[in-house]
Symmetry: C2
């Protein structure tokens, strides 16, 4: 644990939230932490009639076909609330669905241990989280795909903390398969809570894990149980087992978190042509039905529980059966889901995803397509927004840095200062002053504004070819690699109170002694 505790030791004298702005500023210049608002009108491919038809299809799936809930407790709750339960199949009428879904808030906050890192889900915000759950890792130095380790996971968590454009910590940025599965959640949550002060996530992979993570988040925030339950402090994300099924551990975590009023994200993985119809409308309808079914369950348990409807609808490569991401069909499915989420009054989650195996041009155009789909759909939470490769099977620090450059540009893109049409911005007097034979470099209007007028990249190289060549002719992926090394080497963990840190360590030690979580559910 020596390696683990040292960053914290150095920072223990610091205040809780005072250093976020300064930290790392020596390495790169990045915009300060902000919760960007997406003011663009969403792109809505479906007509009003199309929305009605899509809604009707989702309701018919819930009413006529039903969803399987592989969890007896969930079945009891749904039956008591008036659903038609037959074995594990649950059907529910559209009136009930709409009444319960309407209880979910259209926006809510999530407050991590550093209250300055509170985020608002909904309300026009678009927020970004790190890549989550790849079992494998790739970086330029290793040069090949390898199994994830705790050290890689910690390094990616440092990037998660370092970049202001990452608003919440998703699942494990890479699965540290060198830690036994029974205690993995304890070690990684310890790393997450000490290396970052952003909003935490719990995998719904069994009661012990969910309870442990909630307890660790509570301890790290210095809260009583009552304070923890009083407002959302963290969230879980569950995936249905498409088609038409929610499995036991996902539902168990979902219900536990619902009872305690924590954030709930449901994201069916409806790959068109595999786990859902080959047509995008069918895949979206099925995804909505699966997602809304979980929202209904949460609202029965805790009316007003904060829910987010996610989309992971994409298509397979019909040649190989492999999933593809950032495709034209993926983009439209995401937009269609956003359109329906507004119809249901729910915040939306989508992703920053690609099929590419290495952080090259393809990786960036596919990721750009998924990020623009997020913006166009009115997405509020963008999962996997930094570091994702190979359809989520690889995490890469270079890709993480490249994505953060893009995210910073997108955040600046949302700054209404750019399209200000005040007299100052229209600058007629300046145009008259400079006239046809001058230039604007030296004029007062420029001098007063040039340091903040334009986005300044930290990774993009805007030098001309000759200057770029003279500086070594370094391609983007290699620049990102050097930046990753520098950030990790100079990383300072956010401050944590000594007593809290010790309580957290003690909790981890105790739970390890008890054997952690079962691995055979």
């Amino acid at each position: 644990m020596a390696e683990l505790s040292s960053p914290q030791k150095r920072k223990r004298s610091g205040g809780r939230a005072g250093h976020a702005g300064r930290r790392g500023s020596a390495l790169i210049e990045q915009a300060p932490w902000t919760l960007p608002i997406n003011r663009d009108r969403p792109t809505e491919p479906m007509s009003e009639e199309g929305v009605a038809r899509m809604h009707n299809a989702a309701m018919r799936i819930l009413e006529e076909i039903g969803i399987e809930f592989l969890n007896p407790e969930a079945l009891d709750i749904l039956k008591a609330a008036g659903c038609t339960v037959s074995g594990e199949n649950v059907r529910m009428g559209r009136d009930m669905v709409m009444e319960l879904v309407a209880k979910a808030p259209d926006q809510f906050t999530l407050t991590p241990r550093n209250p300055d890192r509170q985020i608002t889900i909904g309300g026009g915000h678009i927020l970004f989280g790190n890549v989550s759950s790849p079992p494998n890792y790739w970086d330029l130095e290793i040069g090949r795909k390898v199994s994830g380790t705790r050290e890689q996971c910690r390094n990616l968590l440092k990037l998660t903390q370092y970049f202001n454009c990452i608003h919440f910590a998703g699942g494990y940025p890479v699965e540290p398969v060198d830690i036994h599965a029974s205690v993995r959640h304890l070690d990684v949550l310890y790393d997450k809570l000490t290396l970052t002060d952003k909003v935490m996530h719990a995998y719904s992979l069994g009661p012990e894990r969910v309870e442990d993570v909630m307890e660790m988040v509570r301890i790290a925030s210095g809260l009583t149980h009552e304070e923890f339950d009083a407002s959302p402090r963290m969230y879980t994300n569950i995936n249905s087992t498409s088609p038409l099924k929610h499995d036991w551990p996902m539902l168990d975590g979902w219900m536990r978190m619902a009872r305690r009023g924590q954030g709930l994200v449901v994201t069916p993985f409806t790959l068109a042509g595999a786990m859902a119809p080959v047509t995008m409308a069918g895949a979206v309808a099925q995804s909505l039905a699966e997602g809304l079914a979980a929202v209904v369950l949460a609202q029965i348990i805790n009316p007003g529980a904060p829910c987010v409807i996610g989309t992971f609808t994409s298509n397979v490569d019909m040649k190989s059966g492999a999933p593809a991401f950032g495709t034209p069909e993926y983009m439209r499915a995401t937009q269609m889901t956003g359109q329906m989420a507004r119809f249901y009054g729910l915040p939306v989650r989508s992703s920053g995803v690609c099929a590419a195996n290495v952080p090259d041009g393809q990786a960036m155009w596919e990721t750009e397509h998924s990020l623009w789909a997020a913006i166009q759909s009115g997405t509020n939470m963008v999962y996997h927004a930094a570091g994702w490769l190979e359809g989520g099977l690889i995490a890469s620090p270079e890709k993480f840095i490249m994505d953060c450059e893009v995210l910073n540009q997108l955040i600046r893109y949302m700054d209404p200062d750019i399209w200000d049409t005040s007299d100052d911005a229209l600058a007629i007097d300046t145009i008259a002053e400079v006239g046809p034979n001058g230039h604007f470099f030296g004029c007062q209007h420029t001098q007063d504004r040039y340091t903040t007028a334009f986005y300044q990249p930290f990774l993009s190289d805007w030098k001309n070819y000759e200057a770029w060549e003279a500086a070594g002719g370094v391609w983007t992926v290699e620049r990102a690699h050097h930046m990753y090394k520098a950030i990790v080497n100079e990383f300072e963990a956010p401050p944590m109170d000594d007593a809290i840190h010790e309580e957290l360590q003690a909790f981890v030690a105790k739970r390890k002694e008890e054997g952690g979580a079962p691995t055979d559910f």
Copy 2:
């Protein structure tokens, strides 16, 4: 000329338009030639009041500050039409401007020598052209920036013809500096007209060049002069010399083409902080004023002449003064220009641009930003949509191929089949049939649709990491390089009638004997 004439010789027996679909199909599978329609609602950052303020600013520039027209003939025409001319400064009232701009059509056709390649500018279409005018070239084999040559130019023209997603041939895809400037236009237009059958462009760089190019296009199309003049067959693009100036040769070409009813695109190069105000609203207002002034001139000369308003407003890197492209500010300026173009009832031109020096991740995220700005702005003509690097100073065949993969995805993105919500697409019966324990691979609904349900890439590699590695672990840029070589090696020029070909060759020979065009204007 042996190398030049051989492709044509092989094809002389073919019909004019019959082979476009078949050609090259052995190499890659690409979607057929189509004129995509952009049905997305444009992204409009400015409020209605903002539009009014922007219009007022553009009008005040025209009324109070004026534009310099460095061409006596243009000055005479503008003066006779009622403008206030003082030396080279021309001021014009907003009533006159709006009356004349209203005469320009909101859409028009351009018909090249192969009438099947006719394109419609406006009317919701978004069309793409190749990179134009870089003086330099880079490819993976050479591995460094070199001066452009005719061979490179010809190879890039082959790509222009090969890819169905390229709708029009812009300027020279790389400047062949190994041909003397006096005859360069003759050789390149010969190459363009024989290697492609798409819409042609003329540089407005002196009367001889413009007249030669119009004559060569007329000959290649087998038209009389009257037929050529009867509808737009080609176009020119002029850039103002910002701030506030149109220079002699640009105006000369503009007026010649206006008289003959050909396509007219005006694109001020208003780099905010250099040739225009540092604020984007000011840069856009100035760009609009410069552009509208040229449209006014064209409409005086030939009311109803087909005009397009272009935008090339971006920002400089305030650290180095170098231009940057695909920036957040670039995107919003493009959207704002699109908003104003709709206000004026004019088609819009923007670009597919980047600052990156090599075709890597940065090149693709910057190009993606400019392409999405084109879509969001309602752009009708996307210049430089394939092959551009280093702010337009480098043409690259690898970048060309990578861009074409993206363009194909964007064209598919616009296909309304994706968001069809018919009963067939919603597929409720299929969802019921497959149920919670099946999968959709084998069902009839999938079998009936899987070959056409999803976009299939030609360059993206969707294999998993292991399969990709087994196939050599080839990064995108290298895959693009191999594809470039294969396309060029197997290229077949579009058919051209023997007599027309000979007439074209004779014209080039005669004009070369006469000395070509002066190079000292």
